[in-house]
Symmetry: C2
Subunit: 405 residues, 2 copies
């Protein structure tokens, strides 16, 4: 290795543990004597083309550990989706700085970027090891048992629904919350792990893997409300009708699309408000409340899964190990090996780029509005230790004095 | 004491620590040999008139402790606002069951109920000790340094904004979140304690104690966005124009009013969406996101201030102490005695009923969109121990190679 320089960057939406992966790369690489400089690019691939680099080699280990425990991309991030020309610019900069190893922490779109840069380097005959490090809050990456960032967001959603259920039991009515997840319902389904007793909410869960039919939704809500006097509902932001059109799109006045062509679904309370309006007017239920959890699902400081933290750190460290000892580029993937244990593999970049994972049928109940025990078994270990628990008063009724019978 | 029976109930919106107060009453009362039965009314005053009682004397101490740590009213709650006739019915039931001490845990409206029931008993010559136990998330009770329930909600808001700021720094744009608080801005102001570095958000805070002017709001946002390239904003759900009309009311299509005559502000994403729309269209900023935190602020299981838990427990215990040793009815009030220590007094029911506390001028900056150090000093001890902390990478720039200058 001549220059001994490596570069790491973060792309896409932030997660609560994305800095664990960054620090995993920075500290693991420093153990190898061939590595002389660890550069970080600010704001992802945009920072690369702008040559906006910081030298992480000069950062103290202790501060890196503190940053590792801090949510949201410490190097900054970007929503840019590089095309071929953009990727060529990226490669030019990497070569100008004599970068030998390129690590990019991001979601599905970023794996594609890494693939193209890898191909550019191969075409130019420039020795460059490119490793993609996964992150997501949707859990929508193919080829992974799960992806770092998801377990902590799932923990937040489970805890939020545990609390929402208690609140709803205290002041009964209909409560609905919209959860992130355009195509994959894992995060919305995580709400089910906030449920403890058989009559607890969420009573109904609407995932993007199933067609949403408004009339059936209303019938479901009516049925639960008649049975329990209340109803707690989890709805994915990505629910859509049989033609695939997002329910949210039918009402959001200004439809924004980001650089990846995704309908901008986050940040709008419209879906929750519309569904609540339907419930109020069609079911004549007065006490109806809707919330959209929004960005707090992925950035809430103080609700993180320790399993997620450990694994996010390891995928960064494994990326370095794969780069140092391996002979090829790829994307780090998590495989489940036991209950509960994982190992890491290097998947080919082409295998995962551009593909989206969704909830397995085995995870969704036959009714379509609940999860199965298979899902509970899948998710529970990922939520980590120290999950809060909710308790109820037992019933010891007192005989009425004034009213007979 | 002849019957040895006491009754406790919970009213109004749930908080994360309201069961601490309930259990404080139940366990402290059991230490007195005169107390033979501790009844709990289900769903507040509604449960009293319906004689829907549970015997807490038969509940195990251990389960009571677990319930104490569980958010949201374990006995259930109600939004009913009793008029004179309703209060008379309450008194009838209390007398029929030979209740000697009546404890009601609730907000401002419930203190009025306790006062009327106390007067009914006095008129009837029936010996009944009535103690009101405060709870709130708004911190809007007069005569209290602060009120149980508020510190935990404030902790949630501070942590949420700490995370939102990190997220916004990673993917810069404008981020706005609407926080609970109809008339009092304490909870919205708590967002300021999520700010660590001088350029951190929230950069702008809009409280109901100040008139909201849309043009000034837009000018503020523009100025911050030009300075930092991003902007994080905290907005109270209760912001209003100079005539006092809620900004939210101008756009919420179906305006609901609850039994207390309050405009239903929770559960609607409309305010956040409207303000974001204004920013997008008038300031031509593309990346704008709005969230409404909703009920998760008061029920999130796993984000509770230990100071709040201790004080909520003590106000319940003090209520019993005041009832056993004192000669009059009243409302338990928290007074700050040192940095940081509190003591409890029994305030007259008339002194607090029906009055709303708002943010002191000394807590609001001259600009109107920030808090003062006096507020930081006031709030910080209430948030409790183990507050998560956010860390940044230090800057060690790398010289550009391709671009000169």
């Amino acid at each position: 290795m001549k220059s001994g320089k490596i570069l790491v960057a973060q792309g896409g939406g932030p997660t609560a543990v994305i800095n664990q992966s960054l620090v995993g790369v920075a500290l693991e690489a420093r153990r190898f004597s061939e590595v002389r400089r660890v550069y970080g690019a600010r704001h992802g691939v945009r920072g690369i083309v702008d040559e906006d680099f910081v030298d992480l080699t000069q950062e103290t280990s202790h501060n890196l550990e503190q940053v590792a425990n801090t949510p949201a991309s410490a190097l900054g991030s970007t929503r840019d989706k590089p095309d071929l020309r953009y990727c060529h610019e990226i490669f030019k900069v990497l070569r100008a700085h004599e970068i030998e190893h390129f690590f990019y922490i991001g979601g599905n779109d970023s794996a594609d970027t890494v693939r193209i840069v890898s191909e550019e380097a191969a075409k130019a005959g420039y020795p460059l090891r490119c490793i993609h490090i996964p992150k997501t809050i949707d859990n929508d990456r193919v080829g992974n048992d799960h992806t770092p960032g998801f377990p902590s967001a799932a923990r937040f959603v489970a805890q939020a629904f545990a609390g929402a259920n208690l609140d709803n039991a205290a002041l009964p009515g209909v409560y609905l919350a919209v959860v992130m997840g355009r195509h994959a319902g894992f995060l919305t389904a995580a709400s089910a792990l906030g449920k403890k007793f058989p009559d607890d909410g969420p009573h109904l869960i609407y995932l993007p893997e199933r067609t949403f039919v408004l009339e059936k939704f209303l019938a479901d809500v009516k049925s639960v409300h008649e049975r329990y006097g209340r109803c707690v509902i989890a709805v994915s932001e990505g629910i859509h009708d049989e033609s695939g059109e997002p329910i949210a799109a039918k009402l959001a006045k200004d439809l924004e699309r980001d650089a990846h062509g995704n309908v901008q679904l986050s940040g709008s309370g419209a879906l929750a408000d519309l569904l609540c309006e339907e419930i109020k007017t069609k079911l004549k239920i007065k006490r109806v409340r809707g919330d959209t959890f929004g960005y707090v699902q992925r950035s809430f400081i103080g609700c993180v899964s320790d399993v997620d933290q450990r694994e996010a750190r390891e995928v960064g460290e494994k990326a370095v190990q794969f780069a140092m000892w391996g002979q090829r580029d790829g994307s780090v993937a998590i495989k489940r090996t036991g209950f509960y244990s994982v190992d890491y593999e290097l998947a080919p970049l082409e295998a995962v780029a551009g593909r989206t994972r969704t909830m397995d049928d085995a995870f969704i109940s036959a009714s379509g509005t609940d999860v199965t025990d298979a899902f509970r078994l899948y998710l529970r270990p990922l939520l980590g230790s120290g999950m809060p628990d909710a308790f109820r008063l037992r019933t010891h009724p007192v005989a009425k004095v004034l009213r007979r019978g």
